[in-house]
């Protein structure tokens, strides 16, 4: 299943609808939803927020995987940005030192089972896998 989305946070509800449809179609366990929803939203939001030079839609593709689900997000006509190299977040820092910055990508790296980044011809593609529990 694949679908293109405008570069707008209002599209998040449509991404959730696509994910619901894919889980229903493939009979995937509901327990995987939180991680899939979170990783997909965080990566989409990151593309919308930082790849501001592009006006092209973002492609999201969901596929069944041997052990769960594979999701890829592709952004077109953008500079290279590998989210797997994002700066670490000190989650043990005291409240006065904590800021929200970087937390989204940090959570993605912590919660998905594998993640892979490709960049070619100004096309930025990130793919993650979430295994069944």
């Amino acid at each position: 299943m694949e679908q293109k989305f405008k570069r707008n946070f209002d599209e998040i509800k449509n991404i959730v609808a696509m994910t619901e449809a894919f889980f229903r179609q493939e009979g995937l366990p509901a327990g995987l939803r939180t991680v899939v929803d979170l990783a997909t939203e965080e990566l989409f939001v990151n593309m919308v927020t930082y790849n501001t030079e592009s006006n092209e839609d973002i492609l999201i593709r969901m596929m069944p995987h041997e052990h769960g689900i594979e999701v890829s997000l592709t952004d077109y006509n953008v500079d290279r940005f590998d989210p797997t190299n994002a700066a670490a977040v000190d989650v043990d820092a005291p409240l006065e030192e904590r800021t929200p910055g970087g937390l989204g990508l940090y959570l993605v790296m912590k919660m998905v089972d594998s993640i892979h980044y490709e960049y070619r011809n100004r096309k930025s593609k990130i793919t993650f896998i979430v295994d069944r529990e």
Binding site: F9, K13, L38, D92, L95, G104
Partner: protein, 98 residues
């Protein structure tokens, strides 16, 4: 769907999905809160980093005046996200029962 509203006293009920599209609505509501408050998350289905940022910003503001946010009825999916974020060390969290 996302809803946030005062229930009784210092209690605020939060329901639905607190994602990047809803974070502004949540922040505008919580910016009006003054003093200690209890967020009842029994009906909160999902939270992303945008929602975590709203909680963090509000908690820091309130802690600056000697109060803060207490999170109650936190289901295990939401609690996992709080734990990975280190929020379990920053907030008083009461898990949902059952």
């Amino acid at each position: 769907m996302f809803e946030i509203e005062f229930t009784a006293g210092d209690h605020i009920a939060v329901a639905g999905r607190l994602d990047a599209a809803q974070a502004v609505k949540a922040q505008e509501f919580l910016d009006r809160v003054d003093g200690q408050c209890v967020l009842d998350l029994a009906e909160l289905e999902y939270i992303s980093s945008a929602g975590l940022g709203v909680l963090l910003k509000t908690h820091k503001r309130l802690m600056g005046s000697g109060s803060g946010i207490k999170l109650v009825n936190v289901n295990h999916h939401i609690h996992d996200i709080f734990r990975y974020s280190g929020f379990d060390k920053l907030f008083e969290i009461v898990p949902a029962t059952g």
